[in-house]
């Protein structure tokens, strides 16, 4: 087993991996950019080294600097987390060349899965079901028209090197195809330096369901159940759950077996995720494989009782999987809310800044993987994910009720978060009924925001308004010093600079 591991990441996932290492008696090495000196992952690690300025391209994406820290600190392995270098085959190769174990799949498997067309060709050979279409880039608009005629409109044009919706076009008819293909190709060229575009049948209102797999380096591969990830905004997942409300044990077994087949076809090792699109008739199609630990891995951990990060480390150190497929059991239900620094009142625009108050939930069935703390300045340079709140229960309804209770306890001030969004989702009747697809969240948001939780009538609202009024007064009476906008840490909080009635109130109190 490794004695020391470097974590090439930041935020909640770096903290998550550091915790696993501490549990396993492994020393940890953190790396940090200039703006992350006071971040939680640095505080929690055994050793920490600076790797450069705030922009990720000058710090968390710098392979040379990270490998240099690994060498200096004597780390034997690197856990990449998710994002940053986690799916970069060149980095995995550079680790191997430097004699440091990369905790993840081999560069070969990553390359194979990195291109959507090469992944499709490989899967076609392995007999994996995927959305009807071509497995190679289109050579001409005529070819595109012929294929579209055969598989039927609407069709989707997709960049082979794509991701995040770039180089993607939905085409409803033959008339639109030629210009859509041209614009998809030029966008793909601009975004990825590769104009290869292929064609697929468009699945209307699909669900996005993924299957966790785990493979050791001795040829054993298992599946660990699915995650329902249909609740997305701008191609970014917001809430995930396990199991999916529509997957029964038979469908789970079939999806799991296909996922294992996908992993084996790519000679895959370590933790990975096979993503599927599921249509309204519950047919599932291979979409792509994510060659890393997923953000939403905790829901699988809670429903299987396994620790995926422990297992990743054990596999990377050469151990065999300590259990068989027949021993994997799915129990209970888990739902994850991704707490982002985003402003719900301003179209979910990112909201970095200083966290002035933080009240965090705990109690039965609640897991919180967080990278934030009170007094921390959320940097503006990275992904806005602050924390993950996961509710677990014996069934879906209990998990929902526990999450609602925990969200009621959760309070973050100083920056804006999307906590209120989850209150809306969890009480929504379509969500409660498990009627989800990738368009669900846009439809919910289009219904408009409601200030008060449903069930709160006019009179209740009026009572709460009275309470808020009394509360504002009592804060001024009992805590005049803080009301003056003074910051204990002596930092320049925004409140201190703004013209504030509280400040004036504080002054008038001082004169008494």
């Amino acid at each position: 087993m490794f004695k020391k591991i470097l974590i090439a990441n930041r935020g909640e996932i770096a903290v998550r991996v550091i915790r696993a290492c501490r549990e396993m008696g492994i020393r940890t090495v953190a790396v940090y950019s200039d703006v992350d000196r006071a971040s939680l992952h640095v505080r929690k690690s055994d050793e920490a080294y600076p790797i450069g300025p705030a922009p990720a391209s000058e710090s968390y994406l710098r392979m040379d600097k990270i490998l240099d820290v690994a060498k200096r600190s004597g780390a034997e392995a690197i856990h990449p987390g998710y994002g940053f270098l986690s799916e970069n085959a060149k980095f995995a190769q550079a680790c191997a060349d430097a004699g440091v174990k990369f905790i993840g799949p081999t560069p070969h498997s990553m390359n194979l899965m990195g291109s959507k067309t090469s992944a499709r060709q490989q899967m076609e050979k392995a007999g994996v079901p995927f959305v009807p279409g071509t497995s190679r880039g289109l050579v001409s608009a005529e070819e595109g028209e012929q294929v579209a005629e055969r598989i039927g409109y609407p069709v989707m044009l997709k960049a082979a090197a794509g991701g995040g919706g770039k180089g993607m076009r939905l085409v409803h008819s033959r008339q639109e195809l030629r210009s859509a293909l041209e614009s998809a190709q030029s966008e793909a060229q601009r975004s990825f330096g590769d104009s290869e575009v292929y064609i697929e049948k468009a699945i209307v209102n699909p669900r996005h369901i993924e299957m966790q797999v785990l493979a050791d380096e001795h040829g054993n591969t298992v599946w660990l159940g699915e995650r329902e990830c249909s609740i997305q905004r701008r191609h970014q997942k917001v809430l995930e759950e396990a199991p999916s409300p529509i997957v029964d044990p038979e469908m789970r077994r079939r999806m799991g077996e296909v996922a294992v087949k996908v992993a084996q076809a790519a000679n895959y090792t370590n933790a990975g995720t096979v993503e599927f699109l599921v249509d309204q008739q519950k047919n599932f199609y291979f979409l792509e494989m994510n060659t890393r630990l997923q953000v939403e891995h905790p829901v699988t951990e809670l429903t299987t009782g396994l620790d995926l990060v422990h297992l990743q480390i054990r596999i990377a150190s050469g151990e065999k999987l300590p259990f068989k497929q027949s021993e994997v059991e799915i129990r209970g239900h888990a739902i994850e809310c991704r707490i982002y620094a985003e402003d719900p009142d301003n179209n979910y625009f990112p909201s970095p800044g200083k966290i002035t108050v933080l009240l965090q939930p705990s109690g039965p069935g609640i897991r919180r993987d967080s990278g934030m703390y009170e007094g921390w300045n959320v940097p503006m340079d990275y992904d806005p994910l602050l924390a993950k709140l996961i509710g677990y229960g014996t069934d879906r309804l209990q998990a929902i009720m526990r999450l609602e209770r925990a969200l009621y306890e959760y309070f973050v001030a100083g920056i804006k978060t999307n906590i209120s969004l989850f209150r809306r989702i969890l009480c929504d009747s379509d969500f409660r009924a498990g009627k989800l697809d990738t368009g669900y969240l846009d439809r919910l948001l289009a219904k408009g925001n409601r200030a008060v939780a449903p069930g709160a009538g006019e009179s209740e609202r009026a009572t709460l308004e009275m309470i808020a009024a009394i509360g504002a007064g009592m804060f001024a009476v009992l805590d005049p010093a803080s009301a003056a906008g003074k910051d204990k840490d002596g930092n320049t909080a925004g409140a201190a600079k703004a013209p504030s009635n509280w400040k004036q109130k504080g002054r008038s109190e001082g004169l008494r």
Binding site: G353, T356, E465, A468, G471, V477
Partner: protein, 165 residues
């Protein structure tokens, strides 16, 4: 102590006096006996007639909110005795208005020039944070008197970006 409290656009008169076992309040003339404790900064535990409320205070560069449970209320608090706050209260629509940066970020570009006439809700500058661009809008119709934001410069919450009169 007497306050004028504006909650969700409605003004209330709040009188607070210390009393046996707590505080005696009058809210718009209605007597309410309460007990109030601040167990930690920005958190208030309020007991009204046996009902318990946890109220959280959120102050930002631009506004003040009270959270009762998970319901948020925009609040303004004024001391009617204070001349300054009365002047401030009157300055809503008339006179110059400072446009403040609501969040830390970087100024990407200016959307209007000094001296131009703008409508309420019109964008003035674009500030980028976490790889997203955000238009900072004018709260009122008027003339852009001054632009202090410079493209490329970093801004902190509460920094003056422009003044509209």
């Amino acid at each position: 102590m007497v306050y004028e409290v504006i909650v969700g656009g409605k003004a209330h008169r709040l009188e607070v006096e210390r009393a046996a076992g707590g505080w005696e309040c009058r809210l718009d003339g209605q007597p309410v006996h309460i007990d109030a404790v601040i167990p930690r900064r920005d958190v208030l535990s309020l007991l009204v007639d046996g009902h318990a409320y946890e109220i959280k205070r959120e102050q930002t560069a631009t506004d003040l909110h009270m959270w009762v449970g998970s319901t948020r209320f925009a609040v303004e608090l004024r001391d009617p005795r204070s001349l300054r706050s009365r002047q401030h209260a009157a300055g809503g629509e008339k006179g110059p208005r400072k446009i403040l940066a609501p969040l830390p970020g970087r100024v990407v570009r200016l959307l209007v020039a000094e001296g131009s006439e703008i409508e309420a809700g019109q964008g003035i500058v674009v500030v980028e944070a976490m790889k997203m661009q955000n238009e900072i809008k004018s709260p009122k119709k008027g003339i852009v008197k001054q632009i202090s934001a410079t493209p490329g410069a970093a801004v902190n919450p509460g920094d003056v970006l422009a003044i509209v009169e």
